[in-house]
């Protein structure tokens, strides 16, 4: 559910006092604030560098070529050059300052609002209880200045609903805590409306040591293909007696090094912690990032194991969160959708327990263990029927599903093992697919639709009868789960609203539903 009336074009927000112009129109319980004054320069240093490059290149090239640094008639042109450069610089700086001046944000009532733009004004507001995730990102330069960017995601895969770049780190943390506390439905006392919510205490669950990260990168599927390509190139060179193939390796190696570096940089020092606000993930070597996923925001997850990771029994967990959207390329945004870059089975189970507090079965270890590594029907899984084994000679004993009370488990892959977990109340829609070959063998695929992300749940080659039953049962289960969800919300609505900050800080992650929004006084 997106709630994002963007581009109101300078109009007043729908509720609350009108913050049209002038910075000092005080809203009821949130002042209009600006981001840090240095932020345009941290963000726009590329533009400044480009200007410097443009004017400096000529001089630099002359110096290199041994010519005099300035041409003979330079004296005549100098004022023009300086004036031109100065004007460009002034325009750039003025643009920065104006952008900064006109960007204001406010957390008030149930909303976070951001006004921006001075020619085309934009006012955006996002409902706090629609938050899907909050990230605090620190690129290297911002980190040097002690600044951080805050990203507020609602369920729209396009772009972040609210990006505040940059705030002081403490301020960003404070804002995150405030937003999360409000989103969780914590009402601060009426006598202290401006009281800032304390940051919820957190409890570290696991961390990934650098050696294991390096090992996981070296043994990743990428390395497998690198090795294959390298061997291929060497063999080709030897056979054709053509050294040219070696040269193709150089750019490939450079690209690979960059890719490995990026993965290492992103995955370094990965820490997962649990707090009442949700799951906290921190990682990064030069650029650091801290993600907070409020409880119940995970749409689907996949535990996978490339063939070489089996040596050490490592697993990786990726997830779909509504606000994060699809991943562009393996090296790009993938860190954001990774719940666990590498970990043993116990780590994977621990993370799973965070995401799915109620596994919906009395023996989760058996069921999920069978999902990770099992074959055939152990753990209550239903596989591809034996009659269709020609369609998947290796995978038919792995292709299987099992349903617990809270989630549907889909496992696949004999070599590239994967287990997809979709909570019942997160299923969007689903479809049965059957091609001519599958019809001949009496099987069908079941596809569950979830929000954009790296996980695409698909049950391959289930027996026709089972697939049809599952299609109906899963509809019913999803329906029931949705109903339960609203019931829980209703219970919270009738609960006395006197919950204090401290009480909410201890209301654990097992109450993940959207808290009632309308119960709060708006201003």
């Amino acid at each position: 559910m997106t709630e994002r009336p963007s581009a109101l074009d300078g109009a007043a927000s729908l509720d609350g006092p009108a913050p049209l112009d002038g910075p000092a129109v005080e809203a009821a319980d949130g002042a209009w604030l600006r981001v840090h004054p240095a932020s345009p320069f941290v963000r726009g240093w590329v533009a400044l560098a480009a200007i410097a490059f443009f004017f400096g290149r000529d001089i630099f090239e002359r110096t290199l070529q041994g010519r005099p640094m300035f041409e003979g008639n330079f004296a005549a042109r100098a004022p023009w050059l300086i004036a031109g450069g100065g004007i460009v610089l002034v325009i750039a700086v003025l643009g920065f300052v104006l952008t900064w001046y006109f960007t204001k944000y406010q957390v008030s009532g149930g909303y976070v609002r951001v006004n921006s733009g001075f020619v085309f004004r934009q006012q955006r507001q996002a409902r706090l209880d629609r938050v899907q995730a909050i990230d605090i990102v620190q690129p290297l330069l911002a980190r040097i200045f002690g600044l951080a960017e805050l990203k507020f995601e609602v369920a729209d895969a396009g772009e972040s609903a609210v990006r505040l770049a940059y705030l002081k780190v403490d301020q960003a943390r404070q804002l995150r805590a405030t937003i999360l506390a409000r989103a969780a439905g914590v009402t601060v006392g009426p006598d202290t409306p401006d009281a800032e919510a304390p940051e919820a205490p957190e409890h570290q669950v696991l961390s990934v040591a650098p050696p294991r990260l390096i090992g996981s990168l070296l043994l990743s599927e990428q390395s497998f293909f690198v090795l294959l390509g390298g061997v291929g190139a060497v063999v080709l060179s030897a056979v054709t007696d053509n050294r040219g193939f070696y040269f193709y390796l150089i750019p490939a190696a450079l690209g690979l090094a960059a890719s490995y570096w990026s993965l290492f940089n992103k995955g370094y020092n990965f820490t997962a912690a649990i707090s009442p606000d949700g799951i906290r993930l921190r990682y990064g070597l030069l650029d650091t990032q801290a993600q907070t996923l409020p409880p119940g925001r995970i749409q689907a997850l996949k535990i996978s194991q490339p063939p070489l990771w089996r040596i050490f029994g490592w697993y990786r967990i990726q997830l779909n969160v509504a606000g994060y959207g699809a991943v562009e390329g393996a090296g790009g945004n993938s860190a954001r959708t990774t719940l666990l870059p590498v970990g043993k089975k116990a780590d994977a189970m621990a993370m799973l327990a965070l995401v799915l507090p109620d596994p919906g079965t009395s023996e989760p270890d058996v069921v999920f263990g069978a999902g990770l590594a099992g074959l055939d029907s152990d753990g209550g899984f239903v596989t591809t029927p034996r009659g269709a084994r020609l369609l998947a000679p290796l995978g038919w004993r792995r292709n299987a599903y099992a349903a617990t009370d809270t989630a549907l488990l889909i496992r696949s892959g004999r070599w590239w093992r994967a287990l997809v977990v979709v909570p019942h109340q997160r299923t969007q829609s689903m479809a049965l697919h059957q091609g001519p070959l599958a019809r001949r063998f009496g099987v069908a695929d079941l596809v569950l639709h979830t929000t954009a992300g790296p996980v695409a749940p698909r049950l391959y080659q289930a027996g026709l009868e089972q697939a049809r039953t599952l299609f109906n049962d899963q509809s019913a289960r999803a329906r029931l789960a949705r109903k339960r969800q609203t019931t829980e919300q209703w219970l919270r609505e009738v609960a006395p609203p006197g919950s204090s900050v401290a009480a909410a800080a201890h209301s654990g992650p097992e109450h993940p539903s959207l808290p009632p929004q309308e119960g709060h006084p708006h201003g």
């Binding site: 559910m1 509504a322 699809a326 969007q428 479809a431 049965l432 059957q434 091609g435 929000t451 959207l514």
Partner: protein, 170 residues
């Protein structure tokens, strides 16, 4: 309408308007005839003796294969249109398509984010429309083409009303 193997039992499908065949025919003509004409050009040039390179057999084979494929698709169109169906159940809307590659989809009313109605030029002439359902998932590629305009409007209102009644959080 015949119930296929992957359809849930006991469903009476509502078929789309047979006039939708015309829309598909126009689409087919636009997509195929032009490309076949382009691929016939080498044949003409070879026959006229302007070109030497594509040997005659190749110049004949390529457009011929394209033509056969296009005709095959043309023959399938009426059956494909007949295979499109939808059914309103208590809690979800079922949409089915396809003869060779069949798909049966269930979209819960509570999951619908919004409902679109689109009308193309040919559809407008025939009084048809296309209904599109959107959930939070890009994978929900549920559209029902070839609905009579009145039925499309009714369905949209119906779906919206049911969606509001059963709306669930993400």
């Amino acid at each position: 309408m015949r119930t296929e193997a992957i359809d849930p039992p006991g469903i009476t499908w509502v078929r789309v308007s047979p006039k939708y065949v015309t829309v598909r025919l126009v689409q087919w003509a636009l997509a195929n005839l032009l490309s076949i004409l382009v691929f016939c050009l080498p044949l003409v040039f070879v026959l006229l003796g302007w070109w030497r390179w594509p040997p005659l057999w190749l110049a004949i084979t390529v457009p011929a294969v394209l033509l056969v494929a296009a005709l095959w698709r043309l023959v399938l169109i009426p059956r494909q249109v007949r295979a499109i169906g939808y059914a309103e159940r208590d809690d979800d809307l079922l949409v089915r398509t396809g003869i060779f590659f069949q798909r049966t989809m269930a979209v819960p009313y509570g999951r619908m984010q919004y409902v679109d109605i689109g009308v193309g030029p040919v559809e407008r002439g025939l009084g048809l429309c296309t209904l599109k359902l959107h959930t939070a998932s890009p994978g929900t590629n549920a559209h029902i083409p070839g609905l009579p305009a009145a039925e499309g409007a009714r369905l949209r209102e119906q779906l919206t009303a049911r969606g509001e009644a059963r709306l669930a959080g993400l």
